[in-house]
Symmetry: C2
Subunit: 259 residues, 2 copies
């Protein structure tokens, strides 16, 4: 498919048909994805395919609660991985390090880049995808679930399958809200109000219509989308707890060593 | 361009023609890129375009030393950004937080995903790109250079322009080295040796032919590619120093608060 058409067609898909993805198709997409750039061509990532239905059910029960994890035939995890590079270093009598914050972050960027190439590759074949934020928020549990060794941590998860819905095209902030010239230009309150105008209406409307959030909005008496995000959906407390968990993970998985 | 052809054509380009990128073409590519998924549709990233020649020269002098930064008409920075979301929260009387490790990482993934869509969008228009690893390694200096406010930090940099070289297609590890099924399967020494076989020969050969590394390889007497990576190019010391700098940045830019 033409790239412009492909990227404009992107919708996150949350309903899937009961239809498996042929292995050769999946391998073809994976082989295309790994052409993506990585820092120093080190390919500091690993990809974990979870096709097994029971394993996806376990994931659904323990970590998430989104039906699509069971519906879609594939759950896929993209991980920051310096374990492989360390093993390679070992057998070549090279220094075995990459056990720090920089290594972890190099892998986070590499894994995200290859994930996006994979997402586009799937959509190019008529498959639908949806990223799951839970890999970062539930890093400890996700790392255990995937049986990750030291120096490997999850970055992002995705479900993949044949779409069973026509999802709507989501609003985006206007380009001028996202792009700066030569250096960062901070925003005035007027600019923010103007840039978020469409989102404040459409996003708020969308959440008010969602079963999951309708009652929650009434119960918590939040009055706008920004409050729903900051006070209900992504609270300060949940962010702090997740951040503590991420730091614990970095230490436990040998990625936070300093002099 | 067809997506499969596009992604297979990817080469990192390090020599550029003296030819500007038309603004409308750049805006078109940016508008396509921002269709990419982001966590919670928060678009927790900012993009900084550095077209100004003097600014690129300053960057070249201070941070890097790669000729392509001056040659290419565009240097572009992708940043993790929760400053904008906080400003939006403020004017809506919502909790103003997102000042922690989770927020930073959500932005890192968002920024990397949009960077890869942008990279493919450029290549689709006949432009060449090259990612620069320096945004993570030199986070403090890069953040100052871009005049980033609190809650914003650089994730990756890229140069963009019209290619003036036919770059070779780089080796990649075989798919089976990168992909695991259902959970992570650690590698035996034999598997590692087998997976890195091609890289050990081709990558080593490539570095030995590069002016920048030829003398360095002789001086340091490293014997193989893994040693060049771990003992010379990405030393433990440089990794530790960069990791300390990243941690200082996270604290200084209000992204490392805990209970």
């Amino acid at each position: 498919m033409d790239f412009e058409i492909l990227i404009n067609k992107h919708r996150s898909i949350r309903k899937y048909k009961d239809k498996k993805i042929p292995d050769d198709l999946l391998n073809k997409i994976l082989n295309l994805s790994i052409r993506s750039s990585t820092a120093g061509n080190m390919q500091s990532y690993s990809i974990i395919l979870i096709k097994d239905e029971q394993k996806r059910k376990d994931f659904y029960k323990q970590y998430h609660n989104q039906e699509m994890v069971i519906q879609a035939p594939l759950l896929i995890a993209f991980c920051s991985d310096f374990n492989r590079q360390r093993e390679w270093s070992k057998i070549n009598n090279a220094d075995v390090h990459y056990d720090d914050l920089l290594a972890f972050l190099i892998g986070v960027v590499d894994a995200s880049i290859v994930a996006q190439s994979f997402a586009l590759g799937c959509e190019n074949e008529g498959l639908g995808i949806c990223y799951l934020g839970s890999a970062l928020r539930n890093m400890e549990r996700t790392a255990e679930f995937l049986k990750l060794p030291k120096n490997v941590l999850p970055v992002t998860l995705m479900v993949v399958g044949y779409p069973d819905e026509d999802a709507e095209c989501k609003d985006r902030l206007p380009l001028e809200a996202l792009v700066h010239n030569n250096s960062y230009k901070d925003y005035s309150a007027e600019e923010i109000a103007n840039y978020y105008k469409e989102k404040d209406i459409k996003g708020w409307q969308r959440y008010k219509e969602m079963n999951m959030f309708k009652n929650l909005i009434e119960e918590t008496a939040v009055e706008n989308l920004a409050q729903l995000y900051s006070n209900v959906k992504y609270t300060k407390e949940s962010h702090r707890k997740a951040s503590e968990s991420i730091l614990r993970c970095l230490k436990k998985y040998n990625l936070f060593n300093f002099n």
